[in-house]
């Protein structure tokens, strides 16, 4: 497990990343390294150069303004999981970040690296898709925003161009009356998601309002479960209604699902409604108890820049 030879550069600003990327064709950005370094060590990737972006202050931190959470690309999973802002405004994201891998992975891995890497078994793409996030991207000729819906295209394939840098993730703050949940079925070895299901459900006047349900792990890139959303919206949130809606997920899954020695495609197909039902149930429970929502868990450690 020794990486092949590569050149190493460190960027101190986003502008410098751009310059280095243009100067070293084929170079890869190094953020938390928890996806890239395993690839190097397994010799599945051999980029000629790495550009370490890990110390760029402008890419770190969490803030709330204008109805959205802005999370810098270099913010770690652990920081997201411990953030009171994220817990208050995007609780499903906090929950997902808190069940990634193990503490070592969460302390190093970053949200920007996670979405740029776009592993089908990742947790964050699923939840960011459900929450309607969008990605702030620095390109050769300026900035653009890419909505999550168009970002995750295929297995480890995103809408990012060769020189594009994710600088931040923008997540709309949860509207009044919305409940969110993330349900994860973890692989016992990698702790990645065999299946991840995210739900964001609004409750108005005792009826389900806007509902978004997404799934990861089953398919090359996280998908929305439109049939589930349709089946539930406008219904009274009874257990039966939830179960029926969850069962509709079969219409959202194509013929080919991911399968492996741990969980076959057939089994994953059967698990999809189970996970969706659990996510919906939890989200609806929170939506209906929004009034007595528990105070966000205060982080035991908070970096000075927060």
């Amino acid at each position: 497990m020794y990486a092949p030879d590569f050149a190493y550069y460190r960027a101190d600003s986003v502008a410098e990343i751009g310059r280095l990327l243009r100067k070293h064709p084929g170079a890869k950005l190094l953020a938390g390294g928890h996806s890239l370094i395993p690839l190097l060590k397994l010799r599945l990737a051999a980029p000629p150069a790495l550009i370490d972006i890990g110390r760029i202050g402008e890419l770190k931190g969490i803030s709330v303004a204008d109805g959205r959470l802005r999370i810098g690309a270099l913010t770690t999973h652990a920081q997201i999981a411990a953030s009171s802002e994220v817990a208050a405004h995007a609780p499903a994201l906090a929950a997902a970040a808190g069940v990634i891998g193990d503490p070592a992975v969460r302390n190093r891995g970053t949200i920007g690296g996670n979405v740029a890497h776009a592993d089908p078994a990742s947790d964050l793409p699923t939840v960011l898709l459900a929450l309607g996030a969008s990605f702030a991207v620095a390109t050769d000729d300026g900035e653009r925003a890419i909505p999550a819906g168009g970002f995750f295209q295929d297995m480890m394939t995103t809408a990012l161009g060769e020189h594009d840098i994710v600088t931040a993730v923008d997540v709309p703050t949860a509207p009044e009356g919305q409940g969110q949940a993330y349900e994860k079925f973890s692989h016992p070895a990698s702790r990645y998601a065999v299946i991840g299901a995210a739900a964001a459900v609004g409750l108005t006047g005792g009826k389900v309002g806007r509902v978004v349900v997404t799934l990861g792990g089953l398919v090359p890139a996280a998908i929305r479960a439109g049939s589930v959303e349709q089946a539930l919206s406008g219904q009274a949130p009874s257990a039966d209604a939830i179960a029926d809606a969850a069962a509709a997920v079969s219409n959202d899954l194509g013929p080919d699902l991911i399968g492996d020695i741990y969980a076959s495609a057939e089994y994953r197909r059967a698990m999809a409604p189970v996970c969706v039902k659990r996510a919906l149930t939890a989200a609806l429970k929170r939506a209906s108890s929004v009034a007595e929502a528990p105070a966000a868990r205060s982080p035991w450690w908070k970096p000075s820049w927060l």
């Binding site: 497990m1 020794y2 990486a3 092949p4 030879d5 397994l42 010799r43 193990d102 079925f185 692989h187 016992p188 070895a189 990698s190 990645y192 492996d260 020695i261 741990y262 969980a263 076959s264 089994y267 059967a270 698990m271 189970v274 039902k277 659990r278």
Partner: protein, 787 residues
């Protein structure tokens, strides 16, 4: 007036491990920390096909990599390094450290690179081009026994490496098999429980992978070899023989060893190659296994299929057991490979006085990584087979699993108990341990909880299992390099005590337990005692640590060496105090005449005198150092009972352990804290086998679990708090009464967990489930699919 602080007796106390501060602070020295001027690095090119004839090995591109100093093929290495020896008395095909003409498993070495650093070495190994003529691979041992579609070794046309061997009732050496008793038992039975049971293949996964540094010094014609091994003396024996040096010319060092779990007993090809090449090239060489290699090239464990038939009366009395074992040993015999499944034969009867027992074993070659010892080494498999069968019988006759055990136990008054399989169990009181476990777990209460949970629609089950294992190996007839252990105890001139042990610890905590023993024996503070191990230049002789033997055998050798030194020291003290030796007491760092505290002389003063005895008895030589070899006349047979409660997620099939109780009897305990640590680790590995660990190959012999992305290891967060207790039934085979405890948790827990899962799924008509208990498997059973 006595102002000397009173030193407490330490044996039996929960002393923290003195090894840990250096280990947890990263201040320990492992093989990879060894640096020598001029050190070069090795990397192995390994086969990526499971079975193939080597047409050619092209090393040109590899040799051209910057920093590469040599590239050698298997054929070249075979020119100066013969086939590897094994440690069992069974026939075995030639096995070269680096394949010469045929590869037989993915991961088998085909070439070796010597380079300036390990990066260059790896680059060059990748650049070696091997052309294989592909051969069909066989991965299913029962299919392999047909000789189709592949024969691994020409002299073994049905791939049967060994057997069928039979043992048990009606089998005597050099006499025809007598089936009468077994047949009668089965004829008299009201029912026979029959089941094919798989004990799946596992990867040992010590936290430190293997590694070796070989340093041949031409000027001295001597080799020093550092290796992450469990038995440096055995390493020295084999390496010396293989590279043509006397044992006096080879020094083997096991520095800090980050776990072995049995997999570091074997002497590996990489060690021989490093030693032989260091001698040939006259340069120090290092090889450190990486994790990907460890999954392929370090031995695997288990992989047995057992066909069990248990004959019983309706009242639960078992009349007979038949067990036919097929062991998938992978592609080659390693040091102990062939012997491991024979342990499964010996222990197949468990803790029961079955009147008739018959076990048959066949070992089979397949195109997989070779198997060898892995924590428990044959005993977990035996325990699993018999305990699964007992569990199925209890279910069949609707009897409490504890009561079924109780009915069939070997009674305490029958020890020492000669089993039909040839073991002599030293001592035991199984019912006492069972009762303690039932009490600790609150068995009756758990049954009520289970009923309540089921009524609420939850899928909850209870499991109980017993184990008895053989430890403290053992008489030399049973251990190939010899069954003894060695120790030297020295009271230094300043009164400090240094002692050596040949039982080379690699996580067992002997530096602490052995120091406790000597501190008590000599009445000195534990801080004044140092235990040395793992270096053949310091530790004169030794066998090593495996088979839970270090306390029972190594500890006894130390104890006996201590007795000799203490006796001699007592003579010096008696001379100084003008007293009788037998009247002296060693305590609180002094030696005094019993009942006369004012006579006390500091321990250090007597020690100093022994090294400059200006006056002394004529027949008393100076110095305080002596050694002892100890070989027990029998193994020890610890035992225990485990109880688990499991909940299966009705929706997904995921199993969650709610409760884990383990009551062990390992005889006298030197340090209960360390014992508990050993039990915790053992339970984790046993529960891991039951729930999440399995090495999987595809039909072409490609490993599918080659990394921690796919091969799961249990983590602390996966477990409830383990509830432990113990009973004490000393062994008569050593003066300490200690039996050994390193493997107990691993041996006992898999059948307990599986019993709990089967119990949970019994409302779905389930009687048996093979490990690992993958959620999909459990979910399918709950969907009504056949097991």
């Amino acid at each position: 007036m006595n102002t000397v602080p009173v030193l407490p007796k330490l044996i039996g106390r929960r002393i923290k491990r003195r090894e840990d501060p250096r280990l947890v602070r990263g201040r320990a020295t492992y093989v990879d920390d060894v640096k020598i001027h001029g050190l070069r690095h090795l990397a192995f090119k390994r086969s990526d096909v499971a079975h193939g004839r080597i047409r050619s090995v092209d090393t040109r591109a590899a040799a051209a990599v910057d920093g590469v100093e040599a590239v050698l093929t298997g054929a070249e290495i075979a020119g100066f390094l013969g086939p590897m020896p094994i440690g069992t008395p069974f026939p075995s095909p030639d096995h070269h450290a680096v394949a010469v003409d045929t590869v037989r498993f993915v991961g088998e070495p085909v070439a070796v690179v010597v380079a300036r650093d390990r990066y260059a070495a790896r680059d060059a190994a990748d650049a070696v081009v091997v052309d294989y003529e592909p051969l069909p691979a066989v991965v299913d041992p029962e299919q392999a026994m047909t000789g189709q579609p592949a024969v691994l070794h020409a002299d073994y046309p049905t791939n049967v490496a060994l057997g069928p061997l039979s043992r048990g009732t009606g089998i005597r050496r050099r006499q025809p098999v007598d089936d009468t008793a077994v047949d009668e038992a089965f004829a008299a039975a009201d029912m026979v429980i029959s089941q094919r049971i798989v004990n799946q293949r596992l990867a040992p996964n010590s936290i430190e992978p293997r590694g070796v540094v070989a340093h041949y010094e031409g000027g001295k014609d001597e080799l020093t070899i550092w290796s992450s091994t469990q038995n440096p003396h055995i390493l020295r024996t084999f390496v010396a023989r293989m590279i043509g040096l006397g044992q006096d010319r080879v020094r083997a060092i096991a520095p800090e060893v980050g776990g072995g779990f049995g997999a570091k007993i074997n002497i590996y090809g990489e060690e021989y190659v490093a030693a032989a090449l260091s001698k040939r090239l006259d340069m120090p060489l290092k090889w450190i296994e990486d994790r990907s290699e460890a999954f392929l090239a370090t031995v695997h464990g288990r992989d047995l299929i057992g066909y069990v038939d248990l004959a019983a009366r309706r009242d639960g009395s078992v009349l007979g057991l038949k067990l036919r074992i097929v062991a998938d040993i992978g592609a080659y015999n390693m040091l102990l490979t062939a012997g491991i499944p024979t342990n499964s034969m010996t222990m197949a009867g468990g803790s029961y006085a079955f009147p008739a027992v018959r076990v048959t074993l066949t070992e089979v070659f397949t195109n997989k990584t070779p198997t060898d010892a892995y924590r428990g080494a044959g005993r977990p498999e035996a325990t699993y087979f018999v305990e699964r069968a007992m569990d199925m019988l209890a279910r069949e006759i609707d009897m409490d699993p504890a009561e079924l055990r109780r009915k069939n136990f070997i009674r305490p008054d029958r020890f020492p108990y000669r089993t039909p399989l040839g073991a002599v169990y030293d001592s035991g009181d199984y019912e006492k341990t069972l009762d303690r476990a039932l009490e600790t777990a609150g068995w009756a209460q758990l049954r009520t909880e289970r009923a309540a949970a089921r009524a609420a629609g939850r899928v909850v089950g209870l499991g109980l299992s017993m184990y008895v294992e053989s430890c403290g190996l053992g008489p030399s007839a049973m251990v190939s390099p010899g069954g003894w252990e060695h120790s030297q105890v020295t009271v230094e001139r300043d009164g400090r005590i240094s002692a050596t042990t040949g039982a080379s610890p690699h996580g067992q905590g002997n530096e602490t337990t052995f120091a406790q023993m000597l501190a008590d024996q000599f009445g000195v503070p534990i801080d004044h005692v140092t235990i040395r191990h793992g270096d053949t230049a310091v530790v004169k002789q030794g066998i090593g640590t495996f088979g839970s033997r270090s306390q029972a055998v190594g500890g006894t050798a130390l104890h006996n060496a201590g007795i000799k030194v203490k006796a001699k020291m007592a003579r010096f003290a008696a001379f100084l105090l003008e007293a009788h030796e037998e009247d002296l007491v060693f305590e609180n760092g002094t030696i005094a005449v019993q009942g006369a505290p004012s006579s006390a002389r500091p321990f250090a003063e007597v020690a100093a005198y022994a090294y400059k005895p200006v006056k002394r008895p004529e027949d008393l030589d100076p110095g305080l150092s002596d050694e002892a070899f100890f070989e027990p006349l029998n193994n020890t047979y610890p035992f225990g009972c485990q109880i688990a409660m499991i909940e299966v997620d009705r929706g997904t099939g995921e199993a969650r352990l709610l409760k884990m109780v383990a009551v062990n009897d390992a005889g006298h305990l030197i340090n209960p804290l360390i014992v508990e640590g050993q039990i915790h680790g053992g339970l984790a590995q046993g529960i891991g086998q039951a729930l999440i660990e399995e090495v999987v190959y595809d039909r072409d012999g490609q490993p599918l679990t080659g990394s921690f992305m796919d091969y799961a290891l249990p983590r602390a967060a996966d477990f409830p708090r383990f509830e432990l207790d113990h009973t004490v039934t000393p062994t008569p085979v050593n003066p300490l009464g200690a039996k050994g405890v390193g493997e107990a948790g691993t041996i006992g827990s898999p059948p307990c967990i599986v019993a709990a899962a089967v119990d949970a799924l019994s409302p779905f008509g389930v009687r048996h489930i093979d490990m690992m208990l993958r959620p999909e498997k459990l979910w399918r059973l709950m969907q009504g699919e056949p097991s």
